[in-house]
């Protein structure tokens, strides 16, 4: 799918993550920037989750920035899903 607009979700609070997404021109590929207060301890799983989510929505040309302050896995997934859906203009209900 093609992201339509720049979107964000989440906060800078402890135990949360802020996710920013912007569309890139076709064939630019994925540009992913992750920073985390627990990079050493959980960086690998964070990267894996991001790639899986982007694959799931078939997002290829995208710039994603995630700044994490120790969010749990369900929080990370929820924030990613929200940012992705917002950028695809697919959001419904409270996501809108």
């Amino acid at each position: 799918m093609k992201p339509k607009i720049a979107a964000q979700s989440g906060t800078f609070e402890s135990s949360d993550v802020i996710v920013l997404i912007e569309p890139l021109p076709e064939n630019s590929g994925r540009k992913i920037e992750i920073s985390s207060s627990v990079m050493h301890q959980f960086g690998a799983s964070f990267n894996r989750i991001v790639v899986e989510m982007l694959d799931q929505y078939e997002l290829t040309d995208i710039h994603l920035i995630a700044k994490d302050k120790g969010a749990l896995e369900p929080t990370i997934k929820a924030r990613l899903e929200t940012a992705i859906k917002r950028s695809l203009d697919l959001q419904e209900g409270t996501l809108k």
Binding site: S15, V38, Q41, F42, G70, A71, L72
Partner: protein, 517 residues
């Protein structure tokens, strides 16, 4: 060699000497005396009406026989507002003095500016109860060749008695002092309350400088530090940043998590069997720990129960409880705000005590021995109830031993309060990174997810179960938390030892190894 907690301790460290492994919290005390001899304190002589006043700190230092390899000591009653430690080391550095041993009762963020002196050989050894911020990071990364020694507040007194720390120069900031060096922290524009940690330095240092920004007419009352131990007196514009000396640590937290933990901890105390008339109580000044005092205060009022004394780091919250008649007395080794200073100065039931009386294990009884209930925090705790308050989850040195192990060893009920995880890092571990307080002195852990009782204390567990509290086996809670957070990748260390952690009796309870970059 292994100590009794299974930690590998070297027999000898260059620059430190022979190490004795920890063998149990009370093992050395059972004997009734300390084998290590006490070194004599220096005897000095002054002529009648000889002046001690120096125009500048530099002049006082020059008069104090500065030399390579000297040990310089400080107290940390000015907390993060201290400026004199950095000033003193800068003066010594500019004089070309090298290989200084820094023996501060603790180190804070405000001491980060001395980091270049660790790198250039001005400071080569450190004794302290706490190290934080950039210093903690650099030391964990191995900036010093000789490991730092982390001691407790009580253990520091012992180390000075035995000559492990031999102070050449003590610099003692005071918020009021007179021309002879009688000094106190209980009044003046930079008031910081009790000066308890500096008393032993004044007694034992070869040279003692009192520095004040408030030179009062002789005599300065109270004589928290007395003139018969003071060599030089300096009047300066400021001894520190007043806004940071009395930081607002006494506000009760409004974090729902901390309040939840505190409420549970208060329930634990109420039903422990130790919440009885005349009980003695100590809480820390931080987050959940202080909030426990709020709930205990309510419970005491509801039950009409009055306690005996409060001890320790004293906050305005403790002072309120004293003034309400909930406790008879406060013993104050360290005070946290202006209200406390006023109380210390004006209320004779609010008593200033030196570190030796507070927590030194080798005397005829420190006051921590009389505690019934103490509430303490933790950076990590393991399934054997060992507590880490010195190294963070990222492997840096970022905390303080302080009175943690002293009070835990003395209390009938040691309650450790902490969240089960912080910022995705589980706090309950199979094995803590660094042991500061041994599990045998910790009775109960209170987290938001459940209460764990040390299996050595069956009767306590029985009491708490009967009260209907949510008791969990600590191994079960550890697994439960891991399932929520995921299992963090372990940190990597080299074999180099960058810090040793002394238990209060002088034995070595753990070592800190160098963090890999």
């Amino acid at each position: 060699m292994l100590n009794s907690l299974g930690r590998e301790i070297p027999e000898y460290i260059e620059g430190i000497g022979k190490l004795e492994p920890y063998q149990g919290a009370l093992t050395k005390l059972r004997k009734g005396w300390m084998d290590e001899p006490t070194i004599p304190a220096p005897n000095k002589a002054y002529l009648p009406h000889q002046s001690k006043l120096c125009k500048t700190l530099e002049e006082a230092i020059i008069r104090s026989n500065p030399h390579n390899g000297m040990t310089v000591s400080f107290h940390h009653h000015l907390r993060n507002g201290d400026i004199l430690l950095v000033q003193t080391l800068t003066i010594l550095h500019n004089m070309g003095i090298r290989e200084i041993t820094l023996a501060s009762s603790s180190l804070n963020e405000c001491h980060d500016p001395i980091l270049p002196y660790l790198k250039d050989g001005t400071v080569t050894r450190i004794f302290s109860s706490g190290i934080r911020s950039q210093l903690g990071q650099a030391i964990a990364m191995g900036v010093l060749d000789t490991p730092v020694v982390i001691h407790s507040h009580g253990g520091r007194v012992r180390s000075i008695h035995t000559g492990k720390i031999q102070i050449d120069l003590a610099v003692i900031p005071a918020s009021a002092a007179d021309c002879e060096g009688n000094a106190t922290g209980s009044h003046g524009k930079s008031a910081f309350g009790s000066i308890g940690y500096a008393v032993i330095d004044a007694r034992y240092a070869k040279q003692v400088i009192v520095v004040t920004d408030n030179l009062v007419d002789f005599p300065c009352i109270p004589l928290s530090i007395s003139q018969n131990f003071i060599d030089h007196v300096v009047l300066v514009d400021s001894i520190g940043d007043a806004s940071k000396i009395a930081t607002g640590t006494t506000r009760i937290t409004n974090s729902p998590m901390d309040l939840r933990i505190a409420k549970l901890a208060a329930d634990v105390i109420e039903h422990s069997g130790f919440f009885v008339p005349g009980f003695a109580f100590q809480v820390g000044a931080g987050g959940a720990s202080l909030a426990v005092a709020k709930f205990i205060r309510e419970k005491m009022k509801t039950k009409g129960l009055k306690g005996s004394f409060m001890l320790g780091g004293i906050t305005s919250y403790c002072v309120d409880m004293l003034n309400e008649g909930l406790f008879e007395t406060i013993f104050d080794v360290q005070s946290f705000d202006a209200v406390v200073s006023n109380s210390l100065l004006n209320n004779r039931r609010h008593i200033e005590i030196p570190a030796a009386l507070y927590a030194n294990p080798f005397n005829c009884g420190c006051i921590t021995n009389k505690i019934d209930v103490v509430v303490l925090g933790a950076l990590e705790i393991d399934v054997d109830f060992n507590v880490n308050v010195i190294t963070g989850s990222e492997g840096k040195i970022r905390g303080a031993s302080g009175g943690h192990s002293d009070t835990a060893s003395g209390a009938k009920l040691t309650v450790v309060v902490c969240p089960s995880f912080r910022g995705r890092i589980p706090i309950i571990k199979k094995r803590v990174h660094t042991i500061v307080t041994p599990g045998e002195t910790v009775h109960v852990l209170v987290t938001e997810r459940g209460i764990c009782v040390n299996p050595a204390f069956k009767e306590l567990e029985e009491n708490l179960r009967r009260a209907g509290l949510n008791i969990k086996e600590i191994h079960d809670l550890e697994i439960e938390v891991d399932q929520i957070t995921g299992i963090p990748a372990p940190l990597e260390y080299t074999d180099k030892i960058v810090g040793i952690v002394e238990y209060r009796d002088g034995t070595i309870i753990d070592v800190i190894r160098q963090l890999k970059e």
